[in-house]
Each structure stands twice: as C-alpha cells, then as structure tokens.
Symmetry: C2
Subunit: 294 residues, 2 copies
C-alpha cells in the first residue's frame, strides 16, 4: 500500500491531487521521474553512481540506495507514471527531527538554460545561499507526544542571516523548542547529536574529506538532510544522528575539478555546527532555569 | 626615483601614458587609489586589516604590508594623485616566476551594483572561474638569461579547462618551459617549490585553515600570487616559494559566515597542486630524455 511520506520537509509533496513522492511499507520511496531533463538527469546520476566502483563505502552510505525505476500510479491520479525507486530514509524512525539544507551558493550548473540560470540566480540572491553558501529548505523539529512537530513555513527559513540560521540549528538540538520558542534554545542534545565520533559533525567532516578530493561529480542544487530521534535523546540513548544527500537532478560531471561550490557551502555549514558545539550556551544565562519540553 | 614595476603580471599597468602602479627603490609599491568606491573600499580594508588584532601573524604574512596613502605624480602624467603605499612584493627577487590567480567562482559581492554584477557574472561564466573556482589572471615564467621570461597573453590564460590549467601549473615549476614549450613539462622543481614543509602547498593549507574559521572578511575578486626564483632552484638552493594575497577593492564584511566562495576556489587550487606533487610525471614517459633549459 503506497502512502504519502509522513516526514517530508521540502520538495514537491503529494496530496490534494498533487504529484509527489510515495512510500510503501517495505522501506521504499517512489519519486516521480520529472518529465523534462531533470528526470532523465537524476536517473542518469543514480544509475551511474550506484554502479561506480570509485565511490568508497563510507561515502556511498550518505546516498539513498537506488532500486531502479518502476511504473506506479501517480499521486495526482494521472495514471501510471515512471518513478525512481529509492531507499525510504525515514524508515525505522519514529518521530524524526529533520532539516533539509540546500547546498552551494550557486544552485545552477554552468550549462543550464539561460532561463533556468536567471531563475536560480534570483533565488540564490534573495535567500541565504549567496551569503552563507547554503539555505535552509525545510525543517521539522519533534517536541513531544502532545505538541507534535514544530514545522515552520518553508519560505520563512530560506533567507535568514547567519545569526538566525545558527539559532535554528540550535533549536534543532534543543529540548525547549516548542513551549520555549521565544526563549534561547538550551542545546540540550548538541553534544549527542552534533558531537561525538559518530555524530553529525564527524559525518560532515567525512563528507568534506571526500569533496576535497573527488573530481567526478558536481552536485548543484542538491540537499543535505540531517535527521535524529529526539525521543531517544530524551531517554539518554544514542539519537541516531545521520546525514544523507538527496536531489540529484542537477548533478554534472566534474571534468577534473573538485565541486568547490558544494564544498564551500559544506565548510560553511561545518563552521556553524562547530560553533554550536564549542559554545552551545552562548546566550543561555538568560534562560538557564527554563526547560520547556522535558 | 619611481619606476614601472618590472614583474607585474595582471591588473592595470603603467606605461604609455596609462595609469598604473609604481615602485621605488626602498621596496614600496604605489597603487593608484581608484577614484570610485573600489578605491575607498580597498583603503578601508587595508586600514582595518592592518590594525586588526584578531589576525594572527602566520596569516598577516600573506598580505602586503600597508604604509598608508601618499600623493605622488601619477604614471599617466595627470599630476598628483593619492596612492596606496604597499610593500613591493618582488623586492629582493632577481628573476621571479609569478602566477596571479583570481580566486572564487564568483567575483562579485552580493551588494554590488546590478551593472557590475552582470559584468562580472558574464566574465565568470566565460572563464575558468565557474568550473574551477578560480582563473589564471596572468603569469610569467623565467627561462634563463638568454631566453628571459615566458609571458603569454593574459586573456589566453583565463578560460582554460582543468587539464590545461594543470599543464600551466606544471610548466610553472618545470625546467623545460621555454625551449620545450610543446613538450610535456618535466616538473623538475615541483618538489622544491610546491612541496616541502615551507613550500607553496604548505602555505596554501595554512591559509585554508584560516579560511575555514574566519568570518570577518569575504574576499571577492582577490588574487593569490605564487612566486619563486627559478635561478635558485637551478642552483639547488631554496627557491623561496611564497604566496601573497592582493587586490582588496571588493572585500566585504563576513557577517558571521566563512568566505565559502574564496575557500571553495582555494580547495580547488590545492587539489591541482596536490595532484602535481603526487604525480608530477603523469605524462613524462613521452619526453623523459628532453630537458630544455638546463
């Protein structure tokens, strides 16, 4: 039985007669193949990448597993349509907190059409992409059973200055997200989610080392997903912090150069996460007695 | 006595009634203060940077020393004009080989005028900047007393694909640059110029570590100069490989984010230099018996 993914925070979304991805119960994610060259390009990337023996396993684990394509009933009722069959990244997660970060200060490839370049350039200039090298594309932060998720309007996240992006990335790992929305985040889970030898920062650094070296692909307009389970963190267990790369409709060949555009944004993101780990309580003195969710 | 700098490879050049920088015999470099906001911005940068206590000495050494401004006779005969007084970077050098590399895939700051942005964007798209994250802006490679310098047309250097940029960076540290121009470069000085604990790669990595951390300045349209003395290399002495940052007319405040645009280009350049060091003789089998200059 196919259904609408419960934890999608960005991208085209199914429902209300719209075309969007679907998931099944066996852990597969069906993404409609876009009819234009974006679809064929994303399929080409998955096909090439999934059989590319040059990709080490500690890097391929950051990408969704690819299971080919399949004709299934599209979510908009338009009949059988080709879909990419991918790993459902939220499988096994109960109440995941997720942020989708679109990488790079430039979201267009050099050989894109003039019209597409102008459209992307305008958006890159109007959002955080240009100043920060990435933009927050969507987020959901789990509060608790009663309050559910904090899931702000996607457009409200995209053009924030550095200090507010940092605040969001602090709230992402805080226990006082919902009831204490106007208070300074407590960063209660910064050390267990972002820190540690298997935490988010370590994973980002592992990805960075690969991007400093690989000249095979340039990942324009691709996103990093950061996910973890706040429920587990609250119980003192490993919160399962994980990063994944998604959205490859605009990947091109590297042609002998590293992907400096993605890498620059990645280093920028790493700097934000590092600062939060180094000084999680920069503003905490104001609200040290408040703890909203626990 | 002021004269035209003998070793300038890029930027506005004095001579034939044109306005350009001058040098004196005491090691000072006089750069005409551009009349528009580029001039005031570069002066603002030098003034702020040279007194900024947050800049560690192992980083400030990569920047020209700033001695203030001075009214001197302009090189175009237009009378007394304000000039930035800077360290002459080629002082003490006899026959320097120099390459000027304009950094970043984007040479325009977010707040530049629309007209300026469009002009830069066009050039970034037409040159190596977009694919490589930097472009070669000018070069001179010393051959020997008889042949002098190889100094190709600046425009011919700016839009090369990755493989040809690598070839130029190999020729830069080769002994067969001039007489063996069509042959594969021998990379005879790669290890002593690019390699070693004080070589170019080490310096670039030192700069990279700072750029991964600093959120004070974003260096749009700034260049890295790489210099060394082939004469010393030929004598088996330390060739004095050195990098310097120049051209700060488009520096802006960092506002809490790292300079991902410069850093991306820097990582790209580092990858090229590393590859040359790792495999200097990738194509050498073809020309192993040829050595043009020695």
């Amino acid at each position: 039985m196919l259904k609408i993914p419960p934890h999608q925070v960005a991208g085209h979304q199914a429902g209300n007669g719209k075309l969007g991805p679907l998931v099944d119960e066996s852990g597969r994610f069906y993404k409609p193949l876009q009819g234009d060259e974006r679809g064929s390009n994303e399929l080409k990337f998955y096909t090439s990448f999934s059989s590319d023996s040059r990709i080490p396993e500690h890097i391929s684990k950051f990408f969704p597993t690819f299971y080919g394509t399949q004709l299934i009933e599209a979510s908009d009722g338009s009949g059988l349509k080709p879909h990419l069959v991918l790993e459902d990244l939220s499988i096994g997660r109960v109440n995941p907190s997720i942020v989708d970060i679109k990488m790079g200060s430039r979201t267009w490839a050099p050989e894109a059409s003039e019209e597409y370049i102008q459209k992307c350039l305008k958006k890159d200039r109007e959002t955080s992409s240009l100043p920060l090298g990435f933009r927050l594309s969507g987020i959901q932060i789990y509060g608790n059973k009663e309050s559910g998720y904090w899931k702000p309007e996607r457009t409200s996240m995209q053009n924030l200055p550095a200090e507010e992006v940092k605040l969001i990335l602090k709230k992402f790992v805080s226990s006082n997200t919902l009831t204490g929305m106007d208070l300074q985040p407590d960063c209660a889970f910064a050390a267990t989610v972002y820190g540690g030898s298997t935490g988010i920062l370590s994973q980002l650094l592992e990805m960075k080392a690969w991007f400093e070296d690989q000249t095979m692909y340039h990942f324009y307009s691709c996103s990093i997903l950061i996910m973890f389970e706040k429920g587990l963190a609250l119980e003192g267990q490993n919160p399962g912090g994980q990063i994944k790369l998604i959205d490859f409709a605009h990947v091109i060949e590297g042609r002998g150069a590293i992907d400096h555009n993605f890498l620059g944004g990645l280093c920028s993101l790493i700097k934000f996460i590092s600062e939060i780990l180094t000084a999680p309580n920069e503003h905490k003195s104001l609200v040290s007695s408040v703890n909203g969710v626990n």
